[in-house]
Symmetry: C2
Subunit: 112 residues, 2 copies
């Protein structure tokens, strides 16, 4: 999970991922389209590969990179845990404040 986020956090890597969203591409094409130097692209792809975000397929001297679905599914699952909770926050905040006040009252009583 953290590996996925770290990999996606880098702007150029995000661009690469969004480019690969359309279809698999060889390194050179990615470099050309994003106007990046080839070594940098290879390095970014290495990071993405280590994070499990992409797969490689050799075709002649080319290496075709493609997205993998798992990390995105995991990210989606993780996001799910934020769905309803977030909409309930306001109420919970009120609860917290009430609790806090009540606690303070209790302490005050206890002190005397």
């Amino acid at each position: 999970m953290n590996a996925t986020l770290t990999a996606l956090a880098e702007p150029n890597r995000l661009r690469i991922v969004e480019l690969l969203r359309d279809k698999p591409r060889p390194v050179g094409e990615i470099a050309k389209r994003l106007r990046l130097c080839q070594p940098q692209v290879s390095k970014h792809l290495r990071v993405l590969s280590d994070a499990g975000l992409v797969d490689v397929r050799p075709v002649a001297q080319q290496r075709i990179y493609q997205l993998r679905s798992e990390p995105f599914n995991e990210l989606d699952t993780w996001l799910e845990t934020f769905r309803r909770r977030v909409s309930d926050r306001m109420d919970r905040l009120e609860d917290l404040i009430s609790e806090r006040k009540a606690k303070k009252e209790r302490e005050k009583d206890h002190g005397h």
Copy 2:
């Protein structure tokens, strides 16, 4: 989008976000639960705040931090664009290879 990912990529910030998922909390409580120093927590919360991931509410000398829903919704929307595409990749890869071969044939014919 990139701001969101960058903010979430840091392990301790991710822990903070996951802690806030349950309910809003003051700085001190976050520090205690995650066994982090208070200044570091404040700094992380600053980053999260700048990225729009959290809101603050002063209550006495405390500052109650809570998650905001927008960035998570945006992240979810972004993820949506990867849903179907990823499952189509295999076919597209085949297409790419076919195209590539066809192109090569064409070049060969043209050369002669």
